[in-house]
Homo-oligomer: 220 residues x 2
């Protein structure tokens, strides 16, 4: 079944919201990200449910079905591959590409996206560090990710460090950062790329980009 531009956007946004929680996604949350009103979202969710792409019960929120997730992943794949293209080949900065990729992600051509993937040398992540699903819709296992590449509000666990100099490890200790610590990036400050991180659900503390890029973490 063909998917419209609008449908693809809804599925993508529900997917994104599902990444950071196991709960059902609320109508309002979707409305905020789609830049529409709750009433419009309700309409669309009913339509998506009819097509079998989401499970939706009134007042109960929404979740993607397996089929819906497949479509969402293909949109996400296209979005992220185009972002790599824009940065690596077109020379855009990482902060300029989102809006353009929002348009390019709806171009319909399996052949094109697979050729693009090859042209870009099958990248595993986009310029923001988000993983790119392969053509089967499978997200690559990113065993280790740098804390500096993590998005806001993603749960993760500290798995190691990329530098083991004494002063660096002393700093980590002082910040209460130890192996196995549960981390969540609450805020990324564009000015100096410093991050505000909650450690084991505590109040967030500031960590410089220099430190963050030497911390290895595992998602989830």
């Amino acid at each position: 079944m063909a998917t419209s531009f609008a449908e693809e956007n809804y599925l993508k946004i529900i997917y994104r919201l599902s990444e950071s929680t196991l709960e059902d996604i609320s109508t309002n949350a979707v409305a905020e990200l789609t830049q529409t009103k709750a009433a419009s979202v309700t309409d669309m969710l009913r339509k998506l449910a009819e097509k079998g792409w989401v499970n939706y019960q009134k007042y109960q929120g929404v979740r993607l079905t397996e089929e819906g997730e497949k479509i969402a992943l293909s949109v996400v794949r296209k979005h992220r591959l185009w972002e790599v293209f824009l940065v690596e080949k077109m020379g855009f900065n990482w902060d300029e590409v989102h809006e353009i990729a929002e348009q390019l992600e709806h171009i319909e051509s399996e052949a094109l996206i697979n050729k693009l993937d090859e042209f870009l040398d099958f990248p595993k992540t986009d310029p923001h560090g988000d993983p790119i699903p392969n053509k089967e819709g499978i997200l690559p296992e990113l065993s280790y990710v740098l804390l500096s590449d993590l998005k806001e509000n993603k749960a993760c666990v500290l798995m190691g460090v990329a530098k083991d100099s004494a002063i660096f490890l002393q700093l980590l200790t002082r910040l209460n950062l130890s192996l196995g610590a549960k981390l969540m990036v609450k805020e990324i400050n564009p000015f100096d790329r410093s991050v505000s991180v909650s450690i084991n659900d505590s109040e967030p503390v500031f960590i410089s980009h220099e430190v963050a890029k030497n911390i290895l973490i595992k998602l989830g």
Copy 2:
């Protein structure tokens, strides 16, 4: 003023039709190329006229205004640059790219299209030999074009040959092809790329691709 997907398509198609005639473009001609019905075209022409992009009087056909032509040229520029990209960088064949370019031509980003132009080394023509407007919307003067690169139903004049071997010129003479002859390609046969050409308004004759690609012509 922002242009919708549909509006851009109409302007582009009116532009294409205007290329091969000086007369006003008929509602039916537009309907055929947009794959819509005449009634729908009438509606849209009224809207385009209101926005100042076409001159339109009921029953009199339509022409682009200067502003309308500017928009059309920017869509054509995008379409043709993306076609070059698809063939040169993505490895598509010249006959596979039209549908994908029909989608890509509506991506809205001046910055992207100019970077793409640069990435492709400022090509003058697309893979089908059509000229690519520059960023000011000016079509390059293609002083000489190969007959083999010409589209169907474009008037042109024989301006020279790319090969001057005796047997080649003898063949041209036999076909009544001489300098200054008025030519129009009536049909391109995909099988062997041979062309059926009307010479000085005569009944069309068949010319092989091998011959056509050695004939230099001037448009118009």
